[in-house]
Every structure is written in structure tokens, then in C-alpha cells.
Subunit: 225 residues, 2 copies
Amino acid sequence: MATYYDIHPKFHVAVDCIIFGFNKDGLSLLLLKRNMEPFFGAWSLMGGFVQNDESVDNAAKRVLREYTGLNEVYMEQVGTFGAVHREPEERVISVAYYALINIQDYDKKCVEEHNGYWARIDELPHLLFDHEEMIEKAREQMRRKASSAPISFNLLPELFTLTQLQSLYEAIYDCPIDKRNFRKKVADMDFIEQTELIDKKSSRRGARLYRFNNHIYSKSLKFKL
Amino acid sequence: MATYYDIHPKFHVAVDCIIFGFNKDGLSLLLLKRNMEPFFGAWSLMGGFVQNDESVDNAAKRVLREYTGLNEVYMEQVGTFGAVHREPEERVISVAYYALINIQDYDKKCVEEHNGYWARIDELPHLLFDHEEMIEKAREQMRRKASSAPISFNLLPELFTLTQLQSLYEAIYDCPIDKRNFRKKVADMDFIEQTELIDKKSSRRGARLYRFNNHIYSKSLKFKL
DNA sequence: TCAAAAGTGTTAATAGTACACCCATGA
DNA sequence: TCATGGGTGTACTATTAACACTTTTGA
């Protein structure tokens, strides 16, 4: 029985994380400027190797935690990249994941120590290996998902204005959205709750703050934005 | 430099294929009743191990060819299943793919030798490991894709009737479709070409045969079914 | 002659799109 | 007082959904 497995080769398996963040300048990705060999100085995604005692999904969670200090982050598997020579020195099969984080809420010291930097998604540097392809695929998958499920709220603080929410969708879809039509749709979704609070920072007049109520959402499940 | 890679564990990496076929009885999957150890007699997907000289995608193509004799098949990666104990005896990380084949067009002898059988998708036997989960994920992904791209034609012969096409979509979406609305939509897609031919087998009256013209499709790219 | 599948249009409801002005406030 | 972002409604268009009868032909 042993030979059934033993005659087959084994491979290093890695995970790479496409970490999305959002602020008034739009979408950004948290990238690594490598401060160690191999590929010292090159830009890459945050990644790591799968270990014996962890599932591939958990490896991705661990890597995200190691680089950002964050737990309980929304993540989705994007796909596996398995070209023979995708890394030049050794064969590594890599599983890509995307993560959506609130850009105000991560361990800045931890990111700094790892040489992590935010890069605006339309101004990315060149990246190692097939990481640009991973990002492209992640972006499309995230866009599709965001249009049919309320995942975008992971990119916002708990309280947000409708202008913020709209500009988030404009960044995700990379196209302008009509303000009145947008607000009409949002008004129909009672899981996007108005609060009593006003945000005074973003404008003179102040803007109503809203909150995503997952409990109400789970009951209704009609989302289309 | 060597240690950068060497300190990390290596894993067996497998591929598993969810092979869809379609005929008048609806969608079916091509499954394996294992005729060798381990797990002799159990039902499973058709799978195999990734080898040193092939990409993961090519391993999936090879496995499909070995079991069905088919080349140039429409395949998509579904995802990677990496739970630590998903196979009881050894750790294997498996990448699932789905394939769409024309059920009239495969090497029957080859399938027979491997102990392959078609099983209707709503009457599947219990399967090894996490293969049922893979199938569920594949089915959803295929459904989504079929609604926005003309992949379904891979499941049909080159010439097909509109009744066949409709019943295919009913099988994919697992819900009935209105005949007149369906045919109206199809009529708007000029890449679904009427031919001069009539199929006399399926009914007394005979039904017009149609064909998918990929060349016309590539120019228009408006598909929504 | 009849069973079995093929073929064919209209109407109502819904969802999506386009579009421009007043409001409140702090500097 | 004015610059800045916040907030609001209506008319048009496109898409989708519902619905039933006639045709052809081989057995």
C-alpha cells in the first residue's frame, strides 16, 4: 500500500495572499518588498509555505496573521498556480487567496517589520513570478463576488457614509455609478442600516453614517449591487 | 539559498476530475469504481498524482486523457482541497477540475478498462474523501459560468435541437424554463446558427438542427442565458 | 386518428438608466 | 458668502416573466 503513494513525487506548496484595502484614494494591495534572499528587493505578494500540521486554508490564514497581525479576516481561495517553472529555483505549487481588510485596522508595526507597503491597485509595481496574474484573477473574482454578496463591507469601517460605500463600488467595478440610482438601491436593502450618527470629518455639512447588519441580511439574502 | 526551500515540507499533489456529460436523461458524471487498492470497490472521481515534468493543469488533462481517451476538452479549475486528513493514509493536497465532454464521444473501451461508469447527477453514490464536496463546488461554478459564457455547447453534439439545448439548461440550472422565452433569447444570438438539417430521430415531426458558431460568438460576446 | 414533440406572439411587471438641482455647514 | 460634499425624484427604456394553442407526421 505504501508504494501507492510513494512512487509519486512531492512538492513544496505555498500560499500567496492578495490583500485588499480601501480608503479615499481607492483600492490598494498590501505588498512585500522582500528584505531577504532569494529575490532580495523584489516586490511580491505576502506568502509562505504550507506546513505539515495545517490545512492549506489555515496556512493562508497564518500567513495573513504573521504579516498583518489580523485574525478572522474574510478570505477566499482564488486558485492554484502550478506551472512547472513558475519559480525559477525550485518547483513550488502555490495557492492564491484574496483577503479583504479594513485598512485602518491592522498591526502597523508588524507590517513595517516585514517591509510591507500599500500600493494603489492601478499603480502596482512589477511583481515576482506569476503574482500579477494572481492579482488579476483575484480582482475579477472579488468583483464577481461583490456583485452578489455583501463582502465589500469587510473593506469599510463599521460605520460608513453612503458616499464611501459608493466610491468603494466604483473602485471595485472601476467605473462611475449614478449617485441617485445607487442610493435608491441601498435604501431597498434594509440590512444597510441608517444610524443616528453623523460623520463630520468628511464634509462641512456632515454625512449620515450607516452600518451593515449581517443578522438582517442572513434572513433576507437579496443582494445585487 | 537551498535552505530557503529545504526547511519546508513537501506534499503529494493530486488532481481530481469532475467529468460532466449530458443526454436525454440529464446531466451525469463519469465516476470510477476503484478496481485497485487502496479503497478497492469504493466510488471516486477520476484522479491522479501530479508528476515532476507537468504543470498541475496538464496533470488534469493527462488524467482525463488516460481515463477517457479525450484530448482538447473544456476544463476549468474548481479549487484546491487541502485539509490535513482529507485522505486517511497519507496527506495529499488535491486540485479539482471540471470537464465538459460530449457523452457520445469518448473511448468506451478505455473507460470500461478503468471501471468508469456514468452516474446521473441527482443519483450519485457515496464517494471517497471530500469528492462530494468537490462535485458540489464544481456544479455551482459550472452553473455560474454557463450563465455568462457559451460553455454548455461542449456537452452537446455539434448539431443539436433547441429542445436539447433547453433541456440542457434546465439540467444545469435544475429548474424549468419557459419554451417561448428560451427560444426568443436563442433567436437573438446569431452565433447559434440554424442549419438546413432536420433531426428525425427525436420526434415524428422532426426538429431543426442548430450549431454553435464560435467565430461569430467571438465577435459579439453578448451571452446571457 | 391520435400521440408526441415542434413551433410560435403578446402583454404585464420589473429592473435599470439617465438626468439636475437645492441643502447645510465651516472656513 | 462661497466652496464643498450631502441629499433627493421622475420619466424612459430594456429586460424578464407569464401564458396556450396550432403544426407535423409516423405508427
